[in-house]
Subunit: 238 residues, 2 copies
Amino acid sequence: MTRQPGKPGMGRGGSPPDIQHAMWLARSFGRTDYLLLRPEDLAALEGAGSYVSKYPGTHLFRQGEASTAAYVIQKGTVELYRGDHTESMVVARAGAGSVIGDIAMFRDEPYFQSARAVDAVTALRIERNRLLPVLMERPVIALRWLVAGLSQLERTQRRVLGLLHRTVLEQVAGLLLDEADDRGEIHLSQAAIARLLGTSRQSVNEALAELRSSGAVETGYRVIRLIDRPAAARAAAE
Amino acid sequence: MTRQPGKPGMGRGGSPPDIQHAMWLARSFGRTDYLLLRPEDLAALEGAGSYVSKYPGTHLFRQGEASTAAYVIQKGTVELYRGDHTESMVVARAGAGSVIGDIAMFRDEPYFQSARAVDAVTALRIERNRLLPVLMERPVIALRWLVAGLSQLERTQRRVLGLLHRTVLEQVAGLLLDEADDRGEIHLSQAAIARLLGTSRQSVNEALAELRSSGAVETGYRVIRLIDRPAAARAAAE
DNA sequence: CAACATCTGTCGCCGCCCCGACATTCCGGA
DNA sequence: TCCGGAATGTCGGGGCGGCGACAGATGTTG
């Protein structure tokens, strides 16, 4: 996922339907292009909710709360995690275009996990009571929503496979390939990587040392640079 | 779950969206548990596909094949796995009401995993070309399909959490609680359990020995009986 | 510039679990 | 009924990785 250095501090309330927004929404619902979202459908979805802005570290929702709404992320990255204050396990990271909180909302159960903004995040918040009629009225949007959910499911299934029978070195290499931006840089602390993989910081460090000594990456303060992509891919052994 | 008996025929073709229907949906979405697509939903989809029967051990589809259709399981259990002939990793097990193969089909990619019948399986096979019109025409079905997919996603997320920082003993205990039938029996070989958890048969055996010595279960040939559910739950440490 | 918080890099200990090997038990088919 | 395949039960060796500890490096704040 390419991360854009967008400008911070936005987030106004009611805005006129924006073509930019429409384009973004159209892109956000999966890579499939045989079903096009028409402008009026987009407007309907936007009209059913409102945009919220979150500072880094703040929560969109917490596990156990009543699930009254779902969120479509427009900008930024959100970390979905579960656990108490002492130890938390990261379930997934969600970027622009991802839908979060909809599972609990559709099933009318408390949120199963917490959602915390990693950086500056803006998201479209849609209440359950207002979403269902829209989805009933506009099957195209329902299908788009479906494809988004299924894409998330596939990513999670890949993660299960990544956790099974894979050494920490392979997992780290795979994560770096996933998370690198267009300049081949990954801006994550080693502790953050460890929490993403459900492993310990020390093991991540050891794996990075291995990759460094083989010339695949360079490591710095809060930044890792991919030097030799093929070498990293070989270490990931995918 | 009590089901409204007086519910008339759902959503016929060109009728305007029904708010009543939306409200009913909102109420009925809770507590769907393992029953994902319900029999009446299946009936509505029957016209778009045809039933296929599979003997134990045969495949509904294999990873890498072109994804032309999705399947809704009507009876039996299907194992979704990935890997070559030497070593395979089980991604999930799917029972009656589950939808499989839809991810790849909607995204128009080859199947990401293989689906093999564990026991005698009958499933409704639906081609993409015929499914999409039905979903467009009947938002109720589309929403149920959506909820089915999201439920699968939640189960997979739970599995991720189960793999992180959980000892084999805890995982085995959790699986037994999940998989036990109404008589408290689990009909799986220890090797099958091991493949489900991505661990080794010996470790599963050791964990079962532990549970047996603590009086939580009894073990037999291809069968495990839950004797003390609370004890097993304690061992699972959920 | 100094004090502080955070992050990186390493080491050693120890426990869980993978793996190979083997004996034993159970079940189904000829 | 007998036999072969499959499943269970157990042991020991070895390795990966969690955990605590600590030093040095790097931003950050007053």
